[in-house]
Amino acid sequence: MMTLRTWEYLSGPSAWLFWPAIVTGVVVAGMCAWLSVIVVLKRLAFIGQGVSHAAFGGVGVAAMLGLFASTTATTSVSMGQFAVIAGFCLASALLIGKLSEKSGERATTDHADTAIGVILVGSMALGAVLLHVAQTRRMAAGVSWESVLFGQLLAVTWTDAAIAAGVTAVVSVALVVWRRPLMLTLFDRPVAEALGVRVKVMNLVLLALLAVATVSAMKLAGVVLATAMLTLPGAAALRWSRRMSAVMMLALVIGVMCVLGGVVLSFELDWPPGPAIVLVMVTVYFGARGTGARR
């Protein structure tokens, strides 16, 4: 029976091992789904890619600071890891923004592409070097290359779940509080500026939200696949509706269902959960392409 293993895992004596992962998956999926609508509409997928790969550099820095020295992390160490990696991602996002704007009065796709490419490879290389150094100094017992690159959903603790829930709450509140100026800035920046919206602040808010969401998604799907969570639910939802509110709700449902679907697949077929989630999302996206209206 296909669903038996999932049921056994979640109701058996070791169920407490899995529930933090599932709770984290659901809250992070919801947050990323909302942001994914913005990412797709503003064509920020590549920036997301740059920021998520920058997390690898952040892991390297955190390892050098001794935050991955033990296989079990205390609450303060977990929060330290998150803060360092998120800070590194945010700094990378700001640097991408700065490098993109530097080349002229307005950022062009070419300039942004170059900036993202540079930050992406630079962070990956820095992360690889620092992780290697940390490993040779025996400071990286709590982290493996594989878990950073492809996620380690089932290693998620209740502390991680609490951090993810906190981040999701902050991101959701920010999206609700700034929904009007943020949406106007995204839709028509010159008019937003003319109407007194502080568009630079709005851009910073967006980059910060993307950075913390990326770090949260990284825990589930790793730096390589985190972008999927920040792209695919929105891309699929936009195929099925042309009303913003409906798109947001659809993306939320798609994101959460794909994470749950991926977790079930990983239980049943013994697949790694991060890639399983991403494969479900990709399948749903192609399904939406096949059945939804063309944008």
């Binding site: 009007r180 839709f187 008019v191 003319a194 007194g196 798109v247």
Partner: protein, 293 residues
């Protein structure tokens, strides 16, 4: 010609601006008063400083020298108080967004609400009023990406007037609009001026746009070359502002050099006020009447 009242709607005095790193000034010693309720056209070639002037009026740039006042207030204050409305060129909006025309207008109408407040019936009534004014009720529920150039422009004008500004700045409003749309645009700005008493600044490189609905025309090419009634736009003035290459400057308009050479007297009658009419004694042809999406 209209005379300035005590407080001009827009007062530009000795404005000079040079962008950092640029060799030439974008604007040099520009002075201009716009009286309340006036429709002023600002005509100029690309790169002539029109967009810079718009940004100065909107308070998005500060001049190196001189001053800009909107009803006596600084542009920044005017922007904060919602005195100035702005209709940008269409190309700058994200048309792939899943938003209807009504959503776009509501976004501006609800911008000053607190985050905890919902856009209630007051906002809805104002949005309805703006959509009715621009005659856009029929297509206001359609996604913006499916609207024609003329329809989308009316949505953008509704968005600009929903905050009830006193001054409305329209940047290249007829780019991508077909001939019928241009005619409707001329009627619309006339109505905004007459019924709502708005002061209108219409910025364009297109002679036809400016001449068909404005009381006065300011020719801008780094400096202000003339500002008078459209009738004063003689070929000589245009040649002075736009140098020799008028056809390329006007883009979609063809200027007949022979007609220009033979018509230096502006007193001859012409059919001012219609979109298809030649506003000065030049033969003007619209090259493309396609409604671009």
């Amino acid at each position: 010609m209209m005379q300035a009242t005590a407080t001009p709607a827009v007062s530009i005095r000795g404005v000079t601006l040079r962008y950092p790193g640029a060799e030439e000034t974008a604007l040099a010693d520009v002075s201009l008063d716009v009286v309340p309720g006036e429709k002023l056209g600002i005509l100029g070639p690309n790169g002539g400083g029109k967009s810079t002037l718009v940004k100065l009026v909107l308070g998005l740039l500060a001049p190196d020298a001189g001053s800009v006042r909107i009803f006596g207030a600084s542009p920044r204050e005017a922007r904060r108080e919602g005195i100035v409305g702005y209709v940008p060129q269409r190309v700058e909006a994200e048309l792939g967004f899943p938003l209807s025309g009504r959503d776009v207008v509501t976004m501006a109408a609800g911008l000053r609400l607190g985050w905890w407040q919902r856009a209630g019936s007051v906002v809805k009534d104002r949005v309805d009023g703006a959509l009715l004014t621009v005659n856009a009720m029929g297509f206001s529920e359609q996604p913006v990406g499916t609207l024609s150039g003329g329809q989308f422009q009316r949505i953008m004008i509704a968005r600009a007037i929903v905050t009830q500004p006193k001054v409305l700045v329209l940047d290249e409003p007829t780019v991508g609009i077909d001939v019928a749309g241009q005619k409707q645009f001329a009627e619309l700005i006339e109505r905004l001026s007459r019924e709502l008493g708005m002061t209108l600044l219409v910025v364009s490189h297109d002679l036809r746009t400016i001449a068909s609905g404005c009381d006065r025309v300011a020719c801008l090419s780094r400096t202000l070359h003339s500002h008078g009634a459209p009738e004063g736009l003689t070929p000589r003035v245009l040649a002075e502002v736009f140098r020799h290459d008028m056809a390329s400057i006007f883009g979609d308009v063809h200027v007949d050099a022979h007609a220009a050479a033979g018509c230096s007297d502006p007193s001859h009658g012409h059919d001012h006020g219609q979109a298809d009419a030649a506003p000065v004694q030049l033969r003007i042809e619209k090259k493309s009447a396609e409604d671009q999406r």
